[in-house]
């Protein structure tokens, strides 16, 4: 009984190695994405893209004065 629980607890705890490794890996991916973002210049201008994204919703031919 005692031996079994000890063994099973060992098996259960073993998974921590995997989890730690996995969580570190995931966090590392986020770090790399962050560095990549900084490098691509996303933080150079944080204002214009916020305004620009509103344009895309406009109709493609918005000019009511001309029909071509």
């Amino acid at each position: 009984m005692n031996a079994i629980s000890a063994a099973s607890s060992f098996v259960r705890m073993e998974v921590i190695f995997l989890l730690i490794g996995f969580s570190l890996f995931v966090a590392l991916i986020f770090l790399v994405i962050f560095i990549w973002n900084v490098r691509s210049g996303q933080y150079e201008d944080t204002e214009t893209p916020a305004i620009r994204m509103l344009f895309d919703n406009e109709p493609v031919n918005p000019n009511p004065h001309k029909d071509e």
Partner: protein, 813 residues
């Protein structure tokens, strides 16, 4: 005047009695209508739907020539990227101000097939344009932008390769912050079992966790936190105390004790505290690093002078030439509203008028005659002036000011002097405490002595103290920025807080530079509406700036097209409207001999059908809220320096009372005056607007450049104040002064936390968990306190966001 309410569809200006109507929309002038037509032709009218009246008034009908831009060396200097087919250039366009501007500029490719991609950086007011250089020339791109109302700023500065500076936020700081954040989070996670301390089962994993912590902790120390170590080492070598020293001491102690404990297998160390400390410090630095990308605080004369000027060759033909290529002896033509790029002798037979207000502070345009010397920096008014160049721009009278030692002075950006003073006592203090603790324990147990020594260094690490200043100053910088005072960097707050003496320039600083009013002084008889209409009609036909001012001021009167108009260069304009002969111009032109003028100075005399009617005179218009600058209100020693004659002294006395006022001050005089005040141990705040104040602005403890369009040229300064925010200046100075109190409150709070920590540390009883809790708790408490106190003070002074538009009538004491 109901007609006045009609707003131009393009620029939003009033249209006067008879607006131009095109496509069912009213326009104020031909220029605005042309822009609309161009946009309509190219299916770009969405421009007008994104924001109402988004355009800029087209300043002049004459399109400048940009051909000089096609010189290969010019393209080389302006281009940021070139490949065999396309060229990429970055233009600074101060006119960018709304979402319509972004939309239009990013769709500029519809105007010309040779233009590829265009991208706007709104905070920097810049547009990056890529064009195919076998299909379109650089000059065509620029002239296209000019035609739709977005003239790129082209001056000596933009041709300077050094002008293309890096991004708004320091990328290195972001990388460091990212690494510190990543490691801090994971170290916290891996340290959790230690905090819970749940017995023997975890023992085997704890070892792994601790080793992982070291792996994560090393980059935090050696990459993210290395600046602190290096800066404190620099401080030691220069034998001076900086706040980074106690910080680095704590960091080294934490890393050392952790490596030793984990290596010996006797404990988990303080890596969590160390990573947290560095993360919070960098966060403070990031918070402080707010910059105003669209503003330039370090401009010199190069940004003021034009890039090109018209040069006449031997055959008498004029070609645009780079200003930097001008040689003594060249003949150049400077047209209306253009800046005289270098010192020269006037060749035009009639002379002309030059406005020196920006260069010397002189308010009225100065008439110049043939053969007179003309100095660089003046702006030609009215007729074009021909000049014979005497010196290269770099050696001109005005630019010599930049060689003055005041311009060699540099401040350590972002460094708080007060904090460094504290750090002296702090460093000595904690070393004493740590030493005493070690000395106390040494006879008992050498291990505890060592432990007590290092844990004092660990827990006394002044993280909260070090981040309190950046956070308070960062908040104040933001609050002031929202109110129209933009600081170069947040350390200016500290210098602003200490200001006890303010020196004002007059022209352009206390008065409005452009929007001058004309005052009509009648000589005899009454001017009927009909006469005023006739004056307006004639004035409208003239290009002279004073005539334009008259025309715009008399917009409301009904006008008829003149039958005949003739402009006499350097004299005035004559015209016939409905049979009436109207003369507008200088005294010897419009005023019959023998009639006594109603006023002297720069004015336009009016005669109708041979009868002298009076004159229009420039009236300086003072900024709103000047009354609030009275020394009794601000409790500051106030001085006024003016490049002008003492004509306005009475008016200024009314606003300022018996303060020292000095007139006819040259730029050098102003500089010497500020330096004399500094020698008398005053903390001088200098407010000026023009090149003539540049020396004084640089020399002063805090130089504040006043500008009505902050994206336009301002002389080098520590701060830029929007002209319309002048009324808030006294309150903003109070806000800056309050910052010192707020920093003090935060200092006391952070020291309290340190005391609690030290109390445990000297007994050798500092557990890692106590350190890990105490350090972030103190930092968060300080950040919260600084935020709450800063914004509460802003609310008290009426500087919080909701209040910024409405001016409170009473100034809180």
């Amino acid at each position: 005047m109901g007609a006045d309410q009609t707003r131009c569809f393009h620029c939003g200006d009033t249209c006067g009695a008879s607006p131009l109507v095109y496509d069912h929309h009213p326009f104020c002038c031909q220029g605005c209508q042309t822009v609309y037509q161009i946009l309509q032709e190219h299916n770009l009218c969405q421009y007008y739907t994104l924001s109402a009246q988004p355009g800029q008034k087209q300043a002049s009908a004459v399109s400048p020539q940009f051909a000089y831009l096609d010189a290969p060396e010019m393209v080389d200097r302006l281009a940021v990227l070139r490949d065999p087919r396309s060229t990429t250039v970055v233009f600074r366009i101060p006119a960018i101000h709304c979402s319509s501007c972004i939309w239009l500029l990013e769709h500029v490719h519809r105007l010309h097939p040779g233009i590829g991609h265009a991208e706007v950086n709104f905070p920097r007011r810049e547009v990056t344009v890529t064009y195919l250089h076998d299909q379109v020339r650089l000059s065509e791109v620029v002239s296209l932008l000019h035609k739709i109302g977005y003239s790129p700023q082209l001056n000596l500065d933009s041709a300077d390769p050094a002008a293309h500076t890096s991004g708004a936020v320091d990328r290195k700081l972001l990388y460091k912050l990212g690494v510190a954040g990543f490691c801090f989070g994971n170290i916290m996670l891996l340290s959790f079992p230690d905090y819970l301390d749940t017995g023997a089962v975890q023992q085997q994993y704890q070892r792994l966790f601790n080793i992982l912590n070291i792996v994560l902790g090393l980059p935090v120390f050696f990459y993210s936190g290395w600046d602190y170590v290096r800066s404190s080492w620099l401080g030691i070598r220069q034998r001076r105390f900086v706040i980074d020293q106690p910080l680095a001491l704590g960091m080294v102690a934490m890393l050392g004790i952790s490596l030793w404990e984990i290596g010996a297998g006797i404990g988990p160390g303080y890596l969590d505290s160390m990573a947290g400390l560095i993360f919070f410090l960098l966060l403070g630095r990031f918070f402080q690093a707010k910059t105003y990308a669209a503003l330039a605080f370090d401009r010199d004369y190069k940004a003021y002078f034009p890039l090109s000027v018209l040069r006449k060759d031997a055959a008498g033909l004029s070609h645009p030439t780079l200003v930097s290529h001008l040689k003594p002896g060249d003949t150049i033509v400077v047209r209306n509203q253009e800046v005289v790029p270098t010192d020269g002798i006037v060749l035009s037979p009639y002379g002309g008028e030059v406005d020196y207000s920006f260069a010397t502070g002189e308010q009225d345009p100065v008439p110049v005659k043939k053969g007179e010397m003309l100095y660089a920096g003046g702006r030609v008014q009215g007729t074009a002036i021909e000049l014979s160049v005497l010196k290269a721009t770099q050696q001109s009278h005005l630019t010599r000011l930049w060689n003055h030692p005041a311009f060699q002075k540099t401040y350590q950006a972002g460094h708080s002097q007060r904090l460094d003073r504290i750090s002296k006592y702090f460093t000595i203090g904690i070393l004493t405490i740590a030493g005493s603790a070690a000395a106390f324990w040494a006879p008992v147990d050498i291990h505890t002595a060592l432990y007590a020594f290092t844990s004092v260094l660990v827990v006394a690490c002044p993280c909260a103290l070090a981040i309190s200043t950046p956070f308070v100053f960062g908040h104040i910088t933001r609050i002031l920025g929202r109110n129209g005072l933009y600081l170069k960097h947040s350390a200016v707050v500290e210098r602003l807080a200490l200001v006890d003496t303010v020196v004002f320039d007059k022209t352009g600083t206390l008065t409005k530079p452009q929007a001058r009013q004309l005052r009509f002084t009648a000589s005899e008889g009454v001017m009927t509406d009909e006469m005023l209409g006739a004056v307006a009609a004639v004035a409208k036909q003239s290009t002279h700036p004073l005539s334009r001012m008259i025309a715009s001021q008399l917009k409301g009167y009904r006008t008829h097209a003149p039958e005949m108009v003739q402009e006499v260069p350097g004299k005035g304009v004559a015209g016939v409207v409905l049979g009436k002969e109207v003369l507008l111009g200088r005294a010897d032109f419009a005023r019959p001999a023998g009639v006594v003028p109603v006023s002297e100075g720069s004015c336009v005399h009016v005669a109708i059908d041979g009868a002298y009617k009076g004159s229009f005179e420039l009236e300086p218009e003072y900024r709103e809220g000047i009354a609030l600058l009275h020394p009794a209100q601000t409790r500051l020693d106030t001085h006024i320096l003016s490049g002008d004659a003492a004509a306005e002294e009475m008016v200024l006395r009314k606003w300022f009372g018996p303060v020292p006022m000095h007139f006819k001050q040259t730029p050098e005089d102003k500089l010497a005056y500020v330096e004399a005040l500094l020698r008398a141990r005053r903390q001088v705040g200098m407010l000026g607007d023009g090149l003539n104040d540049a020396g004084a602005l640089r020399a002063a403890s805090v130089g504040i450049a006043v500008s009505d369009n902050a994206a336009m040229f301002t002389p080098a300064a520590d701060a830029i104040l929007e002209g319309k925010a002048m009324a808030r200046l006294p309150r903003m100075l109070k806000m800056a002064k309050a910052s010192l109190g707020i920093v003090q409150a935060c200092t006391v709070l952070s020291l309290l936390y340190n005391c609690v920590g030290v109390f445990f540390a000297v007994q050798g009883e500092l557990s890692p968990i106590l350190a890990a809790v105490l350090m972030p708790a103190s930092s968060i408490a300080v950040v919260t306190l600084s935020t709450v106190l800063s914004y509460r003070k802003a609310r008290q002074l009426g500087l919080s966001p909701g209040n910024t538009l409405a001016e409170p009538a009473v100034i809180p004491a």
